[in-house]
């Protein structure tokens, strides 16, 4: 499979390029790229959940947000003690659910474990009762509203709409220094590589095949002897944990987290990255997250008013004309080229071609 081989080489090449970026890009742009890479990690989790298991969650913002808040809480506590907004709201003693985040290990573990646990419990009750498809998706949206409303209403504990910001050190180093930001960037790249590798192993194992089977015929899979809801719970929980990780890395590079960064609109956008990049692949979500956010940054600086319309238009076009996203177009072109090269009937070639999961 020279085709698969070349794809693998490209992924490794891309990874190496990302690693040397701190020597190439100006700090400002490196910081932007780092944020997008955090988004790419998140997109990988959604890509596995939606692209392979067929579960569409429009509520990953809350998992991402939880990771981000957990990290922001730790950073706030270690750089200046109690957050200002508590004082303004007349709270003089740090509540216990803040205090636990003063330990970095606890904060990091919770940032991943809480989304996993929460998704696990939610998934258990929905999937076991066979609430799937659109109903599940609507439920996840409703959840976003509940959570963001809660955060906003509990201003004295959460910072309300302003979120948490104002922290400027990590482990005693200045968060704003170029070296610290480079370290954080590299950490993000390494985690992206790690998550990519885990997802790659996952979707190419028998487990991945069962996920695809559940996506394509949940009932049939049940009649093969699989307790499909357990599989759905696990993959949902996994992708929630990945979102939490991404949230942590994100806040380190942005320096702020607010409810609006994890609300309905961002939650939908996250899914768009995957749709644009290509469902049912792993490269797709990464490329989708990078390209969409890159374009978004450029576009919103140049034409701030038109951006939302533009992204909406792109989404409609993608859904209608390229249901498999960018990766779908690439593989069509490649199939065509191979067909030309070997002089085979293109249709016949496409028929036999088994899409590799990368």
């Amino acid at each position: 499979m020279s085709y698969l081989y070349s794809k693998k080489t490209l992924v490794i090449l891309g990874f190496v390029i990302l690693l040397i970026m701190p020597f190439v890009l100006a700090p400002f742009n490196l910081n932007l790229l780092g944020r997008f890479l955090a988004y790419a990690i998140l997109a990988l989790g959604i890509g596995v959940l939606w692209g392979y298991a067929g579960i569409l969650s429009l509520g990953h913002g809350i998992f991402f947000g939880f990771g981000a808040y957990a990290m922001a809480m730790y950073l706030t506590l270690q750089s200046g003690g109690m957050p200002d907004f508590m004082g303004w709201n007349g709270i003089t003693e740090l509540p216990w659910f803040w205090a636990i985040f003063s330990n970095p290990i606890v904060a990091i573990v919770l940032a991943i474990a809480v989304p996993m646990l929460f998704a696990g419990i939610l998934g258990f009750f929905t999937f076991r009762n066979r609430i799937t498809g659109v109903y599940f998706t609507i439920l996840t949206q409703a959840l976003v509203i509940v959570v963001t409303t809660l955060i906003i209403s509990q201003q004295q504990y959460t910072g309300g709409t302003n979120g948490i910001t104002g922290f400027d050190t990590i482990f005693g180093y200045s968060l704003n220094s170029v070296t610290t930001q480079q370290m954080i960037y590299w950490t993000t790249v390494i985690f992206l590589g790690l998550v990519f590798l885990i997802c790659y192993k996952l979707v190419n194992s028998r487990f991945g095949k069962v996920l695809i089977a559940i996506r394509d015929g949940e009932n049939r899979t049940r009649f093969l002897g699989y307790n499909t809801s357990i599989y759905q719970v696990i993959v949902y929980s996994f992708s929630a944990g990945v979102a939490g990780l991404a949230g942590m890395l994100f806040v380190l590079q942005v320096g702020i987290i607010t409810p609006s960064m994890m609300g309905i609109v961002p939650s939908i956008e996250m899914v768009l990255w995957v749709a644009i990049g290509g469902r049912g692949t792993l490269i797709g979500p990464v490329i989708g997250a990078l390209l969409t956010n890159g374009a978004s940054t450029w576009f919103s600086q140049t034409y701030p008013d038109a951006w939302l319309f533009f992204i909406g238009l792109v989404f409609v076009l993608v859904v209608v004309f390229m249901p498999k996203g960018i990766m779908g177009i690439i593989s069509t072109i490649q199939a065509r080229r191979r067909a030309k090269k070997y002089g085979k009937d293109r249709k016949e070639e496409a028929k036999l071609y088994n899409s590799s999961s990368i």
Binding site: R206, G225, Y226, N354
Partner: protein
């Protein structure tokens, strides 16, 4: 070898239903249906449209729960009380009427995940295709005549091939009871013949229930036939016996 011979002689009851009732709203799709099946029997269920044949298979595989009565598998397992996946693990395999394979997986992968194995998440996560598994899958591919197609995407197979693949997926679970709903629907004559032979092979070491409308096919391959009508048992016996039954003639010719 001796053991197999012995097993073949003492025909045990694999399946037994007693006064089974399945009600959908006001409609009794199955009404006090009693049924018995011996090991290694190729048993056909026939009956007019809406007789409750599919519903009966649905009950056996856990898709539909009985309103009252129960079905005993291997004399002690109450199928009405188990989940679908548990029933499969006890040894009942079902092939659906419309071919339901996994179109985006390869033929090989379809069989790989269907294979008899521990199907818990932890085991599946670490599972590797062993040489023994591959051999087993290749045997199955030979049996259904898809050896050449093992790496092909299953969705691109011809209709008949999909049906066989699904039968193979059921067989990979090594079930003691196989349920097939109209397996030859939409097949060419040649494919029908092949399927019939396949059913005979399958029934050599397990019990098989086939729901079928095609009387020529039933006549050719059935060991035993049960006729259902409006959810009830009408009669059973060989195809010849059944065909001469007054009530069966009435039902099929519509005389009352």
């Amino acid at each position: 070898m001796e053991k197999i011979e012995k097993k073949k002689q003492s025909s045990t009851t694999v399946l037994q239903s007693e006064k089974l009732i399945v009600q959908f709203g006001g409609l009794k799709a199955i009404n006090e249906f009693s049924f018995q099946l011996s090991d290694r029997e190729l048993h056909f269920i026939i009956g007019p449209n809406g007789a409750g044949k599919t519903t009966f298979l649905d009950v056996l595989c856990g898709k539909t729960k009985p309103t009252s009565g129960n079905v005993l598998f291997k004399e002690s397992i109450e199928l009405g009380k188990l989940y679908e996946y548990q029933i499969v693990r006890k040894g009942v395999g079902r092939k659906f009427q419309a071919p339901s394979i996994f179109p985006s997986l390869s033929v090989m992968s379809n069989l790989e995940i269907a294979m008899k194995q521990q199907k818990g998440f932890w085991h599946i996560l670490r599972a590797k295709l062993s040489e023994g598994d591959k051999e087993h899958i290749h045997e199955m591919l030979t049996l259904i005549g898809l050896k050449e197609e093992s790496n092909r995407t299953a969705g691109t197979l011809a209709h008949g091939q999909k049906q066989w693949l699904e039968i193979a997926m059921v067989l990979m679970q090594d079930p003691e009871l196989v349920l097939l709903d109209e397996p030859i629907a939409g097949m060419t004559e040649e494919e029908e013949e092949k399927t019939g032979e396949l059913l005979r092979t399958i029934a050599k070491d397990r019990a098989v229930i086939v729901v079928e409308h095609d009387m020529d096919f039933v006549r050719k391959f059935a060991d035993k036939v049960t006729v259902m009508h409006e959810g009830t048992w009408l009669c059973d016996g060989s195809m010849e016996e059944v065909q001469q039954n007054e009530r069966v003639l009435e039902v099929y010719l519509g005389r009352r």
